[in-house]
Symmetry: C2
Subunit: 325 residues, 2 copies
């Protein structure tokens, strides 16, 4: 029996007599044969694998995207390879090289530490790329962006209406500089209210304890805010703990908001007012653009930018201030 025939039954390509097929299958079972995927990719040229590069899997939002990406990828017969960077640009570079070395079908990048250099490298590679949350240009690159500005505006309006005049934004380190869409959205919203409101910004690690420390920093200031808007639910959850430990009531003394609407947001006390970002849809979008209609097909620049409009969800962590009786 020739290797060619075996290949044909394994890949279900070409005609094979039932009898022969059975024989092959039996032999495979008997010998516990496991096809070498490296050889397969090397010969066939297609790894049927999507590479996902992510800053921080600890943030449940990214994990959710991973899971949705994976289930969608499996649906179309692909595997997914993850690499995490811990927000480290060097590790991002390494991750990109690794993915290219593995000859993945496409790359999904969910990493806010992405620089122009990284984008250039992705560009040169020519393979389909979808980048989340970072605007980048390239013939083979599609951007998936969330309209933070609208979500942020909605939450700020809610807070303003309920009497808040002193706001703070809690971000994470990679958002330093005026580059971050989320920070920009916050600042611009604040500008609209002009001198009627005060605002400040604190940056910390993207984790529960980062939020925790950020809150302590804010409380240590001379005039602590009455409303704390956080870049995501994870950090907001950390903020809640800090406030609770200080005996500060939420929302009676201070209101808090998150972003993303991860499961955790419903489980902390009080449940977080947040903005829902549909990660299931994002996973599907990514696979679609990476595998089904690869980016090269996208002729018009407009098709290379997909904007998702999120939806505010009001829960217990926001409300009017109430004096302690």
């Amino acid at each position: 029996m020739s290797t060619a025939t075996v290949s044909r039954v394994l890949n279900d390509t070409g005609q094979v007599r039932d009898e022969t097929r059975d024989a092959v299958l039996r032999a495979i079972a008997r010998l516990h044969y496991t096809p070498n995927l490296h050889a397969r990719t090397l010969a066939g040229g297609d790894s049927r694998t999507i590479g996902m590069i992510v800053s921080n899997l600890e943030n449940p939002f990214f994990l959710d995207i991973y899971r949705s990406l994976e289930s969608e990828a499996h649906r179309v017969g692909h595997e997914v390879l993850v690499a995490s960077t811990g927000y480290d640009p060097d590790r991002l570079t390494a991750a990109i090289r690794l993915m290219l070395g593995r000859r993945v079908t496409g790359i999904a990048a969910v990493a806010s530490e992405m620089t122009q250099g990284h984008v250039n490298e992705l560009n040169r590679s020519g393979i389909p790329v979808v980048i989340y949350d970072v605007a980048a240009t390239g013939r083979n690159i599609v951007n998936v962006l969330v309209d933070y500005a609208s979500g942020m505006r909605e939450m700020i309006e809610l807070l303003y209406t309920t009497g808040h005049r002193h706001f703070a934004f809690v971000g994470h380190h990679t958002m330093l500089g005026p580059l971050s869409a989320r920070l920009v959205a916050f600042n611009e919203s604040m500008q609209q209210y002009g001198r009627r409101v005060k605002h400040q910004v604190v940056n910390e690690t993207d984790a529960l304890d980062g939020g925790y420390r950020a809150a302590h920093l804010l409380l240590a200031g001379e005039t602590p805010p009455t409303a704390i808007l956080c870049v995501n639910d994870l950090m907001a959850s950390g903020v809640l703990r800090a406030l609770r430990e200080r005996g500060i009531r939420v929302p009676d003394d201070i209101s808090v908001t998150g972003f993303d609407n991860v499961t955790l947001a419903e489980y902390v006390t009080p449940a977080l007012t947040t903005v829902d970002v549909p990660r299931l849809a994002i996973g599907q979008l990514v696979v679609d653009r990476l595998v089904l209609q690869p980016v090269a097909t996208q002729r018009k620049a407009r098709d290379r930018e997909l904007v998702i409009t999120p939806r505010m969800i009001v829960r217990g962590s926001t409300g009017p201030m109430r004096k302690r009786r």
Copy 2:
């Protein structure tokens, strides 16, 4: 210039004249050459990759293990490949095949849905395997086990001493049957107190909402427990939310415990009494046994079983019952 020379400079193997090396490096940079890792593995035979198979990355405990595994693997020049199974045995089978097909250096399996069939397949493969939390035997298999019994006993004793007589255990679905070490540990501890205590068991999904539902089930029973021991911190956090929503005070009305001591355990309200399982050490152990001293070296059966003794951490979620005044 021959490919052999290029290979030598890339792998730093054999002697190469500095001048030649430079030329090669320059060419590589200029052409943006990316070595094909599949070809490399196929030719060299070593993927320098550890495969990790995990049931549920949503559980932060497993994520922590992944992260520690990854950082340790990088330290010794290896990559890690993750596959998640969602507790589905078929997906576990697929994950094992995938890893074998990728010719990983070793497999770290953190999947409680592992059956004897899976173990057999791993055994046959002959590659080094470390299995967490499931006792399995094989020439190439090392077990890492946590001494749950001791942790469980300690917590139950704490609760008994503070007056609790009615206990419940919240587990997850894959722990059905008398197979689960954690459940067994609970039951045996209960047996020790004989007829002085009552106990019951509920199984749900391993997630926040699983714990949430489990708590509702317990509360719906005729005689709700006064102490709820959960299989892990994630489910315990879900339990806390359910109790809070029902207006039940923790620990005044009901005490709750977790297991693992993930970060989240400190952030829920009240903070969870739990048992610390050192995942950093586990990651190091795994890499050590998979890469540094591969399992075939372990002559004695004793060396194939590593038991970790965890440590109880008491926080606010446990205490004596207090009447509502």
